[in-house]
């Protein structure tokens, strides 16, 4: 998918142009000046500084596969393998009147929205608004109390979670959930396995197809680690990675399942401004590689800068949906965030 196919409002530059306006409204974000804007176009993302690499476990990428030294080839290896025949902009995920109750608590109240192919959709709202619950309803972690979720034209209904993943939805977790005792590369390999067919008999007798799939796990795994910027830490246990690298690893692991839709739950939580800006680049890069992205994020500057459209939740209800520029000026949204009483904004 190329830049040309994208409707105007999905131009990644769009949000950036006018975000200073929002910055001045959002107390506290104004002090992050756009010092990072310059490296926005760099091919390989350097997310912050690398901590000292453990002498024992660092990997020289070109030793593993010479192709990994070349960012272009890496991007090619990482890019979504599946052909997307459908026009950009058509609905990929349809949430229809989704209601989710926990006992008496209504976490989602008849929420309806679409995610369109090739866009970065922002999902925002104050704490406890139901954003994560929305993710969980999409990825099969919870079954909606009522309403329907359809992905790629197929209702997810009673599909198992791993089947939903293989249909093409991948996610990260708000509170990181990596496989701590596994190395970074092995974590990503688990993701690539979602596309592998051989099972116990194939592995037991090492049939040729199994070798090919293992080769794929290694190559695509390494390429993904390189893509998110942690290639050198491939053999370190996920548990021992610094916090930021763990978040990046979660993204790589989710991408490894070759999703059509990538759901990121507060990927920038706990990042400093420069890390956030690098992450924004990474998210755009992911979208440009042909993925659709759903992004939950609290940092307004990041959301406004990177998303094509935004859905706003408050107390489980959708209160607004639209382009970043409209959302920014929407009185209901401002009220939800700044706590202005309803009657004052009406």
């Amino acid at each position: 998918m190329s830049e040309r196919d994208r409707p105007d409002h999905e131009n990644p530059e769009f949000g950036q142009v006018e975000r200073s306006e929002w910055d001045s409204e959002e107390a506290g974000t104004g002090r992050y000046e756009a010092q990072q804007a310059s490296d926005a176009d760099e091919a390989v993302v350097e997310l912050g500084e690398f901590p000292p690499i453990s002498e024992l476990e660092s990997v020289d990428l070109s030793d593993v596969d010479p192709a990994l030294g070349d960012p272009k080839l890496v991007a090619e290896m990482v890019a979504a393998q599946r052909e997307t025949h459908v026009e950009v902009g058509e609905a990929l995920m349809q949430m229809r009147d989704v209601t989710m109750k926990f006992g008496g608590l209504v976490a989602l109240d008849s929420v309806t929205f679409d995610i369109r192919r090739g866009e970065i959709l922002g999902l925002i709202g104050p704490n406890g608004a139901g954003k994560t619950t929305c993710f969980n309803a999409m990825t099969g972690v919870y079954r909606p109390t009522s309403g329907s979720v359809a992905f790629d034209g197929v209702p997810l209904g009673r599909l198992k979670r791993n089947q939903i993943t293989r249909r093409g939805i991948a996610r990260t977790f708000q509170n990181i959930r990596l496989f701590g005792e596994m190395t970074a590369l092995e974590n990503v390999a688990v993701g690539t396995d979602a596309r592998h067919r051989t099972s116990v008999p194939g592995a037991l007798f090492r049939v040729p197809r199994h070798w090919r799939e293992e080769q794929d796990a290694l190559e695509r795994g390494m390429a993904l680690l390189e893509f998110v910027g942690i290639g050198q830490r491939a053999t370190e246990k996920a548990r021992n990675l610094p916090y930021g690298d763990q978040r990046r690893l979660e993204i790589a692991r989710a991408l490894a399942t070759e999703p059509k839709l990538l759901c990121l739950d507060e990927p920038a939580a706990g990042f400093n401004p420069s890390e956030k800006s690098a992450l924004m680049d990474l998210i755009r890069k992911i979208r440009d590689d042909g993925y659709t992205v759903l992004l939950i994020e609290h940092d307004m500057r990041l959301v406004m800068g990177v998303t094509d459209r935004i859905v706003v939740l408050e107390f489980g209800k959708k209160i607004a949906e639209g382009l970043p520029v409209d959302i920014r000026n929407n009185p209901a949204v401002i009220a939800a965030y700044l706590g202005v009483p309803d009657d004052a904004t009406a």
Binding site: D60, R171, E181, A189, A203, R206, L218, E266
Partner: protein, 393 residues
């Protein structure tokens, strides 16, 4: 919402920590080529195999036959490897593992003992005396695998404590069946005259080298069973290794680490848990079949549920998830009570204490795990090893 700040990322950038002898050894081993690993490993295996022949004075068991002890070690090592797949890799707490050991042993017993109504040896059976044991060996493995499937299909939907309780029940049920179905299993009397590989028949050894009657020093029946079990251990280790270094092993460890996350990442968790159970069960059954052949006699009391705990001890002491570790654990469990006979009655006390001490000071076990879960992982390790050697020089 997360309250972490970038300060955490600085704190998490910990220094590599001290590099111990074990780590250096591991690194060195990992970057060896496959032939080189065999070149180092084979002499070590041969040396271990020769122990009952050499009988080093301090190492041997003065009060029991060392060959027989090593044979028992071989069987326990198999059990530990099998249980390790279930507990160590997939993280499923199975307290009834002895049940599979019993199923394997009783399958051989029921098919080849003259006391059993299903005996297929002798005049009217189709199994020749010479090959009966070998012929029923795959049957025993298959029957145990099926019993694993039957136990696993309903119970693996349970998690944690529930699974432990149900498997505990299974172990006890198998023993009770063996004890009470007197018409088939011989009840408390057990089954005797079980078949064994009748090879190496000579004047001095009219029943062959594997017969319990072979008491020639040092090449007695125990030694031959030990050697047979070493061969089987190597075969099983290679198969289990193939599984571990593949998507199967990754799925198991992912399930152990975080079952929900694994499922959401596309791992069919139930399917792979069931595989772990079935594979663990068949290895247990294999060990049971060896045991039945070696002692030529099975009774229910050999399969008390408390044995499950002993097997679990071997796995946890040695190092959950580490195949080499659990073999060491099995050795400790078998060797110590035989070396110091006084321990016998107190062995559960001693191993229980040892476990508690381990949990405090070395919860990862004697040889902690460093699983390698990629078929092409050696490539990565060699790359890492090269880098670190270059940095040192």
């Amino acid at each position: 919402m997360s309250t972490s700040t970038s300060a955490t990322s600085a704190a998490a950038a910990k220094s590599p920590g001290p590099v111990g002898v074990g780590d250096r050894l591991r690194l060195w081993w990992n970057q060896l080529s496959r032939p080189a690993q065999w070149g180092v490993g084979l002499p070590i295996i041969l040396l271990i195999a020769a122990m009952p022949v050499i009988r080093p004075p301090l190492l041997t068991t003065p009060d029991t036959d060392f060959g027989a002890v090593m044979a028992q070690f071989g069987m326990y090592a198999l059990l530990a490897i099998g249980l390790n797949v279930v507990v160590g890799s997939a993280g499923l707490l199975d307290l009834g593992y002895v049940g599979f050991y019993a199923v394997g042993a009783y399958t051989v017993g029921l098919l080849t003992s003259p006391d059993s109504p299903w005996n297929k040896t002798g005049a009217d059976g189709f199994l020749s005396d010479k090959w009966a044991w070998l012929a029923v060996l795959p049957v025993a493995v298959a029957v145990t695998a099926i019993s694993g499937l039957i136990l696993g299909s309903p119970t693996l939907r349970l998690r944690g404590d529930y699974l432990a309780i149900v498997t505990l029940g299974f172990g006890e049920i198998v023993r009770l069946l063996a004890d009470n179905l007197e018409n088939t299993t011989g009840g408390g009397q057990g089954l005797s005259g079980i078949a064994y590989p009748r090879v190496g028949v000579t004047e001095a050894n009219p029943f062959g080298i594997f017969s319990i009657g072979n008491t020639a020093e040092p090449f007695n029946s125990g030694l031959w069973w030990f050697w047979l079990s070493i061969v089987l251990i190597i075969v099983v280790l290679m198969f289990v290794g193939n599984l571990e270094r593949s998507r199967v092993g990754r799925a198991w460890v992912a399930i152990r680490e975080d079952e929900d996350a694994a499922e959401i990442m596309g791992v069919p968790t139930f399917k792979f848990k069931l595989w772990a159970f079935v594979i663990g069960a068949s290895i247990g059954g294999l060990s049971g079949a060896l045991y039945a052949g070696q002692v030529q006699f099975v009774v229910p009391t050999n399969f008390n549920v408390i044995n499950s705990v002993l097997f679990l001890c071997a796995v946890v002491l040695g190092g959950q998830g580490n195949k080499l570790g659990v073999i060491l654990g099995a050795f400790i469990i078998v060797y110590l009570p035989n070396r110091f006979l006084g321990i016998g009655d107190y062995k559960y006390l001693i191993f229980g204490l040892a476990l508690m001490i381990m949990m405090v000071f070395r919860p990862q076990g004697l040889i902690p795990v460093r699983q390698k879960l990629l078929a092409y992982g050696r490539k990565i390790w060699q790359a890492a090893g090269r880098r670190s050697r270059e940095e040192q020089s």
